[in-house]
């Protein structure tokens, strides 16, 4: 049995076993991710982070995605140092080019798109840099915050596909990062650049004019950044080859406006409470990519081959003799190839589940000291933090992740934050 033929035979026999083992590992990983996402939406951020910690260290095709999931969990847990590290790991790969060159691209085209290192849709890449910027802003590291918000804006720029090199002046449509960039410029003493960015927001998004008021932002000493709702879900058509995002914004209606109560008294928010972005709408801007064409063609050809195989099969069944044998063999070949093409034309539906529908940015001016702050929405979601510290100068920034079963009240500082401060 030690002949080359024997080795080949044994290898062929072992391949299905290897496939089964790989399948088992993937199944286990999928279960871990499901558990972590469930923990996150139950408000058990520490549990979600614990589940994701080991996965985030595996430098496989899900490396970026698992680090973003981990970053979301750690940010909501206020473990800012580890959240920064997780987002940095993800963004380093997102910002790199050619990570899918060679085998991974070939594998994605020929076998399965999920072989590609996931780098996310433009809105997911932008949100990754937005959260990293937010972490730096919360820690008052305003230069790194500025840089990170600039990177977020790079990810959602509108390009003229015919002249991408001349697209420098095309504005980004990602208002939360534009506002936070302007605020960061204010904090590093560049009022000229802050004003330019606030003006750009006012011109492009007139509904955010109050929020982009330089004076209101300069004077505020409490900044609430509130994630609300669920981001877009990646869905496919009936045979899994065409990908899109659901729900559409018109199916969900406009996001509700938050109300903020400080020490039990409602705060006048002017028009600050206007949602600066709707990820459901941004996701609908997804551009058709080359790999979408490849998948669609593979699926269409697969369908054609299956139909041809069926016709040839019927002809073979009704035929006789050598002709029947030929027809059945051709039918088998066509059906087999068609099934293979259909099986390998499934779209990649991996996505960053923790993303919100929108992120509110609320600059508020309060008397310095400790305050109990409640954020509530008309759909019944509310969250309370007790003893939030509001400084006299600059602004203290707090992140609220609104979830139906996570209303608090929570005491400031949270355990992870207090531990890091010691």
């Amino acid at each position: 049995m030690n002949t080359p033929l024997g080795l080949i035979t044994r290898s062929v026999l072992l391949l299905p076993l290897a496939g089964m083992l790989a399948g088992c590992a993937n199944q286990k990983q999928a279960e871990t991710i499901d558990r972590s996402v469930r923990s996150y939406f139950d408000g058990n951020y520490a549990g979600a982070a614990q589940e994701l910690d080991a996965l985030s260290k595996k430098t496989n095709e899900d490396f970026v995605l698992n680090n973003l999931r981990l970053g979301s969990s750690l940010l909501a847990e206020y473990d800012l140092d580890d959240a920064e590290a997780a987002f940095l790991r993800a963004i380093e790969v997102i910002n790199s080019t050619g990570v899918n060159d060679g085998g991974r691209t070939l594998g994605a085209v020929l076998v399965d798109e999920k072989v590609k290192v996931w780098k996310g849709e433009p809105f997911e890449r932008a949100m990754a840099s937005f959260y990293l910027g937010l972490i730096y802003y919360m820690r008052q590291d305003y230069q790194n915050a500025r840089a990170s918000f600039e990177n977020a804006l790079f990810k959602l720029r509108d390009y003229n596909p015919d002249t991408p090199d001349q697209s420098k002046d095309v504005d980004s449509n990602f208002a939360p990062a534009m506002i936070m960039l302007a605020k960061s410029f204010q904090r590093v003493g560049r009022d000229d650049l802050a004003e330019a960015n606030f003006r750009a927001v006012r011109e492009k998004f007139p509904q955010l004019a109050d929020l982009a008021d330089p004076a209101a932002n300069r004077e505020s000493n409490l900044l609430l950044v509130i994630d609300y709702g669920h981001g877009p879900r990646k869905v496919t058509d009936f045979d899994g080859s065409i990908v899109g995002f659901s729900p559409r914004p018109d199916e969900e209606g406009p996001p509700p406006r938050p109300t903020v109560l400080v020490d039990g008294t409602p705060v006048r928010l002017q028009n600050f409470a206007t949602p600066p972005v709707d990820l459901l709408a941004l996701a609908q801007d997804r551009k058709w990519q080359s790999i979408d064409t490849i998948r669609a063609v593979k699926s269409a050809v697969g369908t054609g081959l299956l139909t041809g195989g069926a016709i040839e099969g019927v002809r073979g069944i009704n035929g006789s003799g050598a002709r029947q044998r030929t027809d059945l063999m051709v039918a088998g070949a066509l059906v087999g190839t068609g099934l293979l093409l259909k099986a390998t034309s499934h779209a990649d539906v991996r996505q960053w589940e923790m993303l919100p529908r929108t992120t509110y940015v609320l600059p508020i001016k309060l008397p310095p000291g400790q305050h109990d702050v409640t954020v509530e929405f008309s759909d019944g979601q509310r969250q309370t933090w007790r003893k939030l510290i509001v400084p006299e100068k600059q602004d203290a920034t707090y992140y609220f992740r609104m979830l139906r079963w996570n209303s608090g009240p929570f005491d400031w500082p949270p355990a992870a934050f207090a531990k890091a401060e010691q």
Partner: protein, 179 residues
């Protein structure tokens, strides 16, 4: 299956091209800066006149466009210059830890780390600082960054610049099919 097993081996972090400053830049830049400080006639003249220079090292100030510089990297890009100068010209400099770093290390009570004199007890005469700036852009085809990393050794007493130099580098990463 064979194809899958082959592609499954490649790491998400070992391939790819980035426009960020790398470990190679760190080594080249700090080697270059340490050599230039040591070879500066103005610096040597100051040492000859006043004895060893009492220098505080500050983390790099990030003014780069769309590139973050985490705390550790910001300290490494100046810290390695200090280490190189300490190693090659041990008698020419007294390195004074900046206040934040000193109290951070003392809080961690690291064994075997020589903290040197407390920053409140000794006043530095000079500061080694660095400011990293960049022009960066990204579009559908590529991401590019042009970095100017400027180092300064300045006299804190009269705010004059004793020595300055910069390390410039341009990086372009071209996007491909999977990007």
């Amino acid at each position: 299956m064979i194809l899958l097993s082959v592609v499954g081996c490649s790491s998400a972090v070992r391939s790819g091209q980035s426009t960020a400053l790398s470990g190679i830049d760190l080594v080249q830049m700090t080697d270059d800066m340490a050599m230039k400080i040591a070879g500066s006639s103005e610096v040597q003249q100051a040492i000859a006149q006043h004895g060893p220079l009492k220098v505080v090292v500050l983390p790099v100030e990030n003014r780069m466009r769309a590139e973050v510089l985490p705390r550790g990297a910001a300290e490494a890009f100046v810290g390695r210059v200090r280490t190189l100068l300490s190693k090659h010209s041990p008698g020419q400099y007294v390195w004074i830890m900046n206040r934040d770093a000193y109290y951070s290390l003392r809080k961690r009570e690291l064994e075997g780390v020589e903290l040197g004199p407390p920053p409140d007890e000794i006043n530095p005469d000079y500061a080694l600082t660095a400011v990293f700036s960049s022009l960066a852009d990204e579009n559908a085809k590529k991401r590019s960054s042009f970095y100017v990393c400027r180092y300064e050794l300045s006299d804190l007493r009269d705010r004059t610049v004793l020595w300055t130099a910069s390390y410039d580098v341009k990086k372009i990463a071209v996007k491909g099919f999977g990007d």
